[in-house]
Symmetry: C2
Subunit: 406 residues, 2 copies
């Protein structure tokens, strides 16, 4: 397998560190708009085998990415950029005849008249529209293959296959007790993506009704996270799992709730009230005269890069899937989860917990694809494939998952 | 009198509208970096007398402003820009031999080690340092001559002269019940200046101790504002009155508290936590490539221009000075205040209430200077001059002030 990894930010860099310990691929080309960033990621893992190399690329330029895939003879593109670049990278892989993986799907657009009741363009719609082309090409686009979406979807399929006869509700629940020394406010994940998923209308799925949206931060609940994290206030946010799971898993209701906490919700509300979440440009003075900049990019530029905070970070992060249903005629409720302790991920990989947890899952998926254990064609979510090999391989990477029965 | 008005923003434009109804000056040159903005202000008030004219000027260019004062034969510079431009304009007036007025004083710099206990560079320090030059030139720099500082300082001097024998405490208190249709968050005054005054360490004066600072938003209290505004939560903020009043009025303690309300305080805290209040540049992508922009400028660019919100605004704004002390051996407490109803200021002048209330006071001061009623040399605050003629002339402008005894 020859991999083109696009994006050498926090997650991309963690991917190289995790992949460097595995032997399933012959080459990984690390491409980034900032060549120095790609080179730094490669230099950190260069093991003398020459498997890793760096290249400059503009992820928004589909033709340039297609050319790079062909030149380097890559048979799979792993997208580790922010969701704005999903469609050009997805298109480039198809054009070059490569397989494709991402960790976030093509962006949504709210319903023009009833944004908090009906879906407009949904997450991933632009990708699923092209599913027939992928099937025809006999290539696999495995979408939403990070931790959430990704591992959370594998958990849902595992629950449906092995733990339940009927499923009333699946709720992905994400929470952490991470703190960062020296910062009042330092998100542990890309603020650009966090704003995108938290301020868009949250999407919910119900049998009969299908997908629909609510006001932001709806249906607040306190969820008790395992391994010492404890109770965290969670609210609905827009997330890929709600769009993916109902396509392959039979469930009465699917939600995604994020353990944001009151303070973080307040911060996001303020950014929205002030229009600072906007991606459309405003005109402002700069050192080069009046320019047009995206306020959300400015917010991101003011905050520390989450990938660099690992040394100052303490605590654990938990991703997981709560399932309620019946087994053998009896009610059952389980939470399938994966916890990463920042101290462990920093010591083992030099990557902070949230970034590492996102990065490990696509590497596991690539290894299953290289072995032929995971195979298919078309546009598939992780729940379309066999869950048990994935969960076993993840454990063998030194990062076990858990189950809590209640 | 020939006036050079620098700044054709909200306050500058309101100044031209108020001045147009008065006959005390022969010429008012309206200068702005954006000539079109200056021309628009002039066009709106042109009464056929030719008293108003427009000119382009860069307020940060002291030499250019000096040349403009000389060319146009102006004998007074009225500064209606934001506080960043105080020093070049103040210097230009001195260089050209003109008098000078502003509505905010030269900027402070926090104490490098103990910012929330001791003053560093205080508001106006850079101006008072040059007082001897102004005295020697026989010209007057009347600083802090808006509504707050400005009218609030006139109130303090009036209280000391006519209402009290001894003053224990003077507290400027500013509150409003303004709302803006269609906006969750729309400050009624320049957000740049509001951030500057609210996030800098608040300054307090006490006899014996002198000036000192506190944490932002300190000493919260609920103050009951008159004319139907009612109780509003107020906190200490940095403001010029605290630096001006003790120089000319004998009082045991001087504070300034702003009726920000909990929600606005929360918004300012969030901007500070995220570093979006910073004026120092961050690097961000723009339509012209990577540029350096000031996050605070981006925040301002995302919000509506407060001067344009008058039509959608409802309610009243109150500026005033609360004084506690003794008269004839008995305890006394009064609140001297000035309320502007937005509906009135929009109908009469087409200017929103907060902007109009700031603008009227320097025009009254100019008229007193033109008549010779207010005269002096050096760097003076409004409380250095006779309060009664000012208060009478303000009332004759159709905007009376009030007194509440408690």
């Amino acid at each position: 397998m020859r991999v083109l990894l696009v994006g050498a930010g926090g997650v991309g860099t963690a991917i190289t560190r995790i992949a460097a310990r595995r032997s399933f691929f012959e080459a990984m080309v690390v491409a980034d708009r900032d060549l120095a960033r790609a080179e730094a990621a490669v230099a950190a893992v260069d093991d003398g085998t020459g498997r890793f190399s760096a290249a400059p690329v503009d992820a928004s330029d589909e033709a340039a990415v297609t050319a790079l895939l062909t030149e380097r003879g890559c048979d799979v593109l792993l997208n580790a950029t922010d969701p704005r670049f999903v469609m050009p990278l997805f298109g480039a892989a198809l054009a070059a005849g490569a397989d494709y993986l991402d960790m976030a799907m093509s962006l949504s657009r709210p319903h023009p008249e009833r944004p908090y009741e009906e879906c407009g363009v949904k997450l991933g719609d632009a990708q699923f529209e092209r599913a027939a082309e992928w099937e025809k090409a006999g290539r696999l686009a495995l979408v939403g293959m990070g931790v959430e979406p990704g591992l959370s979807d594998v958990f849902a399929r595992y629950a449906a296959d092995e733990l339940f006869d009927t499923i009333e509700e699946i709720g992905v629940r994400d929470g952490a007790n991470l703190t960062v020394d020296g910062y009042d406010f330092a998100p542990s994940f890309s603020i650009w993506t966090t704003i995108e998923e938290c301020l868009n209308p949250p999407v919910v799925y119900e049998t009969g009704r299908g997908w629909f949206t609510t006001e932001p931060f709806s249906e607040p609940e306190v969820f008790d996270f395992p391994e010492g994290i404890g109770p965290v206030g969670c609210v609905n946010v827009e997330h890929e799992e709600v769009l993916l799971m109902p396509r392959w898993v039979d469930a009465g209701r699917v939600t995604f709730k994020y353990g944001l906490g009151e303070e973080f919700i307040g911060t996001l509300r303020t950014l929205h009230q002030l229009g600072l979440d906007r991606t459309g440009p405003v005109t402002v003075q700069s050192d080069r005269g009046p320019v047009r900049v995206s306020p959300r990019d400015v917010v991101a530029a003011c905050l520390p890069d989450p990938a660099t905070l690992g040394e100052r970070m303490h605590g654990k992060t938990c991703a997981g899937t709560w399932v309620k249903g019946t087994k053998d005629g009896r009610a059952r409720e389980v939470y399938l989860y994966h916890v990463v302790d920042n101290q462990w991920s920093m010591r083992e990989y030099g990557s902070q917990a949230v970034v590492w947890q996102t990065a490990v899952n696509p590497v596991v998926a690539l290894e299953l694809m290289a072995a032929g254990t995971w195979a298919g064609s078309g546009v598939l979510g992780p729940e379309a494939l066999a869950p048990r090999p994935f969960l076993d391989l993840l454990t063998s990477y030194g990062s076990p998952w858990g189950v809590r029965e209640s």
